[in-house]
Each structure stands twice: as C-alpha cells, then as structure tokens.
Amino acid sequence: MKPSRAGDPYWLLLPTLLLLFVFFVFPLVMLVEHSLFSWDLLTPARYVGLANYRSLLRSGELWQTFGTTLSMSTVVVLGSMTSGLLLALLLDRPGHWAAFVRSAVFSAYVVSWVSVGLLFLWLLDADSGILARIYSHFSQGRAPRWLADPALAPWAVAAVTIWKITGYALVIFLSGLQDVPVSVLEAAELDGATAMQRFRSVTWPLLRPTTLFVATTSLIASFQLFDVVRVMTQGGPVRATTVFVYAIYEQLFLDLRVGRASAEAVVFFGVLLLLTGAQFLLFRTQESA
C-alpha cells in the first residue's frame, strides 16, 4: 500500500531505528574502537593497536575460553535436545497427567537463572546438599565435589543448564510432532511396524527441520551462558567454567580492562556470526532438499 504521506513510514520506524542505532550499531563501532585501546575507565585511554588481540591469543585465554564454551554448549545442546525429544515422545498424549508433567518441565524454563543457580548450588552442596547425602548413603566416602573440582564443575553446570532448558526443546518438539500426519503413522502401524520402526522411518525424518531449529537456537543461546556461571562457580574452579561472556565480564568489571574486554567481545561476536551463518546455510539447504 502506498503510505498516506510519503514521510510516514520513516516516522513510524524512527523510534525503532533510533534505538537500534544508539544501542546496536553505535556500540558495535565503539566496541571495535575500544578494542584498539588500553583503558581502565579511570585514567585516559592509550592507543595500543592490535596488542589486546595478540595478548589474548598469546596467553592462551582465548582458546581456553572458546574450548570451555564450545564443550559446555555442545553437551548442553545434545543433552537438552535428547531429553526434550524423549520427553516430547513420552508426553505427546492427552490427559491431565501428561499436561501436568509438561507444565512442570516447562516451568523450569520460565524461572530465572538466578533461581535455578541458587537452587542447585544448595542441592549440589558437597557437605549438606541432599544429593551428596544420598550419594554417601549408597557408597563409601564422601561425595565428589561437583562444583569445586575443575574436572567436574563444567559438567555439573551443564547438567543444571540442561535441566532448565529441556522445557524449551520439549515444547518445540511437541509442536513438531503435531505436524506429523497421524494418517501416515496409522498406515505404518497397520503395516506391522513397531513403535521404534515407526519413529525411525516416519517421525524422525519429518522432525528434521524441527531438530535443526532446536539445535541451532539452543547452541547460539548456550554460547551466551552467563548467569548460571556467575551464581554457581564464578568462572572457577581454576577457570574451568569460564565461558565467553563470563570472561568478558571479568575482564571489564573485575579487572577493569576495557580494551581487552572489548577485543574479547569482538571475537565473541565473530563466533556468533559464524554460528548464525551456519544456521542460515543449514536451513537453506534444508529447504531446498
């Protein structure tokens, strides 16, 4: 439709574009600029060129952070998708019980990360947490220190994350399952296919776009984990759970290194762009397939 007045669309979009410019475009430009300086917010900034990037690479921090984030995110995505799919299959039925359990699982998605973090901090407490006590009932010695052992902490945090976001995968898979035509499933059943076979040859292929969607959105979301790390482990022990966002936060607020934090944020943004680009490509090939 033609606008009533030629300038109308621009006025309608003005607030949005204004905020967009101030809070998205401008910061991105600033981010790149800051990354070329050394600045602690209290004293004047000093130009250092690419020194921040070099320092991040040389100290191995960047690789470590990237590795930690990637491994935790992979576990989180695979874990939540698996449990989400299994639960969707289990709960895709009418009835009050199923509806109640669906709500229970999804409710974890709705509360804040702080809630969940504090809750599991208590549950996983190696001394008086209930899981530790149950563990020591069934085996000798004391429970492993899930959050204090550098080898275990990332997986403990990943497990908590999976607990929280399974609800998301559940809901998406449920709506994906609705799209599977009942008639095809019934035909397969009449042909004598077992539940497993029905799943493998009918449901699973039809779920592929849904699966891709959940996988990529979960991956991008889990790359942005912060709250749960901050509340439960503060990036430790020994940086075992220092994921990207936490590393940037630490650089900026605890170490007051604006330049280095900005450099790390630029790298992080690049990683996100790559992941999102991969998502688009996958969808493109999916649609053309």
Partner: protein, 437 residues
C-alpha cells in the same frame, strides 16, 4: 462508511485493555524517568548531610558495622550515614570502580590495601590530611598508612585503617592435646604436625587446611625470605622464595596433609572455616577476622597461634582501609571525615575489634583493653596483635592489585590444585607482570 468504522472499532473491553496498557507503559516510563533523574535519591532525615557508605561484609561483621553506623546517626544531628552492601571485597571494589567511572560513586568506602596505590595514583581519592583530627589519630603505625606500605608516610594521607588483620593459625586444641602436639613454629614443624594429624582413610581428617590465596602465599614468601617487589621496583614475586612458598603447599597436598578448600576467593575461606568447625581439618590458616565467628560456632576448644617461620617470621597485613572519594561534593566529604573520626574513637575501636576479632587500630584502644585485662581473658585476640611485630608492608605499587588478581592468584590455584610446575608458573607470572597493560 460510518457503519464500517463502527464495525472495525474496538469493543469497550479491548479499549480498556489498550488504554490500560498505554497507561501502564506511560507510568513505567514516567516512573523510571523520575527515578532516573539522578543517581542518588534518598530518604534522609531533614537537614542532615548524607554520607553514602558502600561496604563489603556479610554476617556478623556486617551487623556490627550497621550498629556502629546507627550509633553515629543517633548520637549527632548533623550527618547521616547510609550504608549499602555490595557483595564481597572484590565485587564491591568492581562496583566502586565502575561507579567512579560512571560518576555515581559514593562518598565513603573501604578497600583492600593492595589497591590503594592504584586508586591514589589515578587521582580518585581525597587526601585526608587537612580534615580536622584525621592526621593525628594515635594509630598503630603498622596498621595505618605509614607502615602498611613501604614509605607510606611520604604520600598524602589517603587511607585510614578500618578492619585490619593478619593471617593466623587456628588449632583444634582437643585434637592437638590428644596427639600431644603444639602449635608449629617452623615450616618443618608444620610439615610434621600436619602429617601427624592427618587420618589417611577416605573421608578422614586433614592435618592442615589453608585457602590457596594470595594473602597466605605472600606470608609464605616473606617467611622464606623473599619480597614481592624488590627494592629497585622490579616485580620479583619473591624469586626463589616465591617458588619455595608454592612448593611447600604442593608438597603438603601431595602428602595428603593439606586440604585445599574448593571455591574461589571468599568462598574458599568460608569452606576452610567450615572444614575446621566440622573437624575435617585439625588446623587451618585463616584471618583473625574470623576469630569471633569461629569461637562462637566451634564445639571444641580452639587456640589461635601465630604463623610459623621459614627462615624468618613474616606476615602481611590484611583487611581494608577507609577511603573517601574525591568526586563527592565538599560537604559530604567533610561529613565523611567526621564519621571517620567517630569510628576511630576508642569506644568504637574497642567495640569493632572485640566483636569481630579484627585488630584494634589505635594505641589508646589497646591500652584500654589491656587495662581491663581483656587479653588475659581472651588470649586468642592477642595473637594477631603480637604478630604485628613481624608484619611486612606492601609496596606502594600501582600494579600490585592487578598482579595479585590477574596474574598470581590464578597461577597459585593452578599450581596447587593441578600440581603444575611452580617455578615455570612464577617465571610466566613475572614476565606477564613486566608487560605494559
């Protein structure tokens, strides 16, 4: 045409909903606008100067501070101190620095000694020399600016001691008596005692618990004869003594007699205290700051003891200093100075110290306590005070805090928890410390 319009017009209920939503949004933005108008909008008794104080204690120490603040507010009508809790020392310091940068800083706060030179050189601290009464408090020099830093007296007065401490050892007196052992006075004795008191079975008791923390490492470095910063300004990190300190910890962990508590920063200290209270560690190193807390919660008799000697005895001092922020308006700074004078009066110093375990910071307070035989009745309180004779000053170095937090602390954890090579780590640390930021 008219019919069409009424057909598409919204029903009253939806109109209401829309109107309500717009109203809510308008209120929200208006409300936020009002609240956003300034950084500091407070409910202060009329006519008083507001002193915003940001502090970083929890638990009992917090209660005592709040009571002292309350006492100040009640006993005079000129000023009003509003104390805001900001998390632990590091979280609080982070917020303070960002608030300074955002021009939202409070008037008064307290910070660890290692960061004072940095803040002073950055020009954000108010010199206190000219405020009435602050330059001539009868402070114990090791606790005041004069001797807390090398040549501290040559700088303008920026920091006044608040909660000051030294590391001390806490012993489970019953376990020690049972084993016929005494507080270790040397590193060798420490090794032996720790081993003797360790029960090797799974889930058994450890002889020694110590947070793997910069502060205790610095103590060990001093005891091994080294210094963090060499007299010529070179960041030595103790050189050989630094390695020896780390290796002592590593050795004790390998032998199974040291339990490095989990968690970071003050979580680790807390965990260490819990280990001691529950009997999982027979002896721990912690701060005199926890003396009252531990005494109150221990179900056994506990003894405080000084730290052992390596080639000599040495301890750093700890705790925090009061600082006044230069960016605050003049009247508020003057009010803050009045509060600081109040906090250094003998009664307040005594109250603070005896209820928390921190060292009293003025001579008059110590004298008063001795007169009423406080230390006779509470010998544990004397330990930190006596250790002041071997207290080492910090270097007045702007990089000290950065070196502590970014470079050394993570490597300490790495060395002890992951048993990496101490010498290599410290060489790495020294190299990083020399890099310009």
């Amino acid at each position: 045409m008219r019919a069409r319009r009424t057909a598409t017009a919204s029903t009253p209920r939806v109109q209401d909903m829309l109107a309500r939503r717009e109203f809510l949004r308008a209120t929200a933005v208006a409300g936020s606008g009002l609240l956003g108008a300034s950084c500091a909008v407070n409910a202060v008794p009329k006519g008083r100067t507001l002193v915003s104080l940001w502090f970083s204690y929890g638990g009992t120490n917090r209660e005592v501070l709040e009571q002292l603040v309350d006492r100040f507010n009640r006993t005079q009508a000129r000023d009003f101190v509003q104390a805001v809790y900001q998390g632990d020392y590091f979280e609080g310091l982070a917020k303070l620095r960002t608030a300074i940068a955002a021009r939202c800083a409070p008037v008064l706060s307290h910070v660890v000694g290692e960061v004072v030179p940095y803040l002073a050189e950055a020009g954000v601290l108010e010199p206190l020399t000219d405020y009435p009464g602050l330059a001539d408090l009868d402070l114990i020099p090791e606790l005041g600016q004069q001797r807390s830093w090398l040549n501290g007296g040559t700088h303008p007065l920026y920091a006044l001691p608040f909660n000051r401490s030294t590391p001390i050892a806490y012993l489970n007196a019953e376990l020690f008596a049972q084993a016929g052992l005494e507080a270790p006075r040397t590193w060798d004795e420490l090794r032996t005692v720790a081993k003797r008191l360790t029960e090797p079975k799974a889930g058994g008791r450890f002889g020694f618990g110590c947070p793997i923390n910069w502060w205790f490492w610095v103590a060990l470095v001093g005891q091994a004869g080294g210094a963090i910063v060499a007299p010529d300004g070179r960041i030595a990190l103790g050189d050989g003594a630094g390695v020896a300190a780390l290796e002592l910890w590593q050795e004790l962990v390998r032998e199974g007699s040291l339990k490095p508590p989990p968690g970071r920063d003050y979580n680790a200290w807390e965990q260490c205290n819990q280990d001691f209270l529950s009997g999982r560690a027979a002896m721990i190193w912690s701060s005199t700051a926890f003396l009252k807390y531990l005494e109150a919660h221990a179900r056994f008799k506990l003894l405080a003891a000084p730290l052992p000697a390596g080639v000599r005895r040495a301890v750093p001092t700890g705790g925090t200093f009061w600082i006044v922020l230069r960016s605050a308006p003049k009247p508020e700074k003057a009010a803050a100075a009045r509060f600081l004078r109040f906090m250094h009066e003998t009664q307040q110093v005594i109250d603070w110290s005896t209820r928390t375990g921190y060292i009293p910071v003025t001579h008059s307070a110590v004298r008063a306590l001795e007169q009423r035989n406080y230390y006779g009745a509470h010998p544990n309180d004397r330990v930190a005070l006596s250790q002041l004779s071997v207290a080492e000053p910090w270097p007045w170095s702007v990089d000290l805090f950065r070196i502590q937090r970014e470079i050394v602390q993570p490597r300490l954890e790495s060395a002890v928890i992951q048993q990496r090579d101490a010498r290599a780590l410290l060489v790495e640390a020294r190299a990083l410390a020399m890099e310009p930021t």
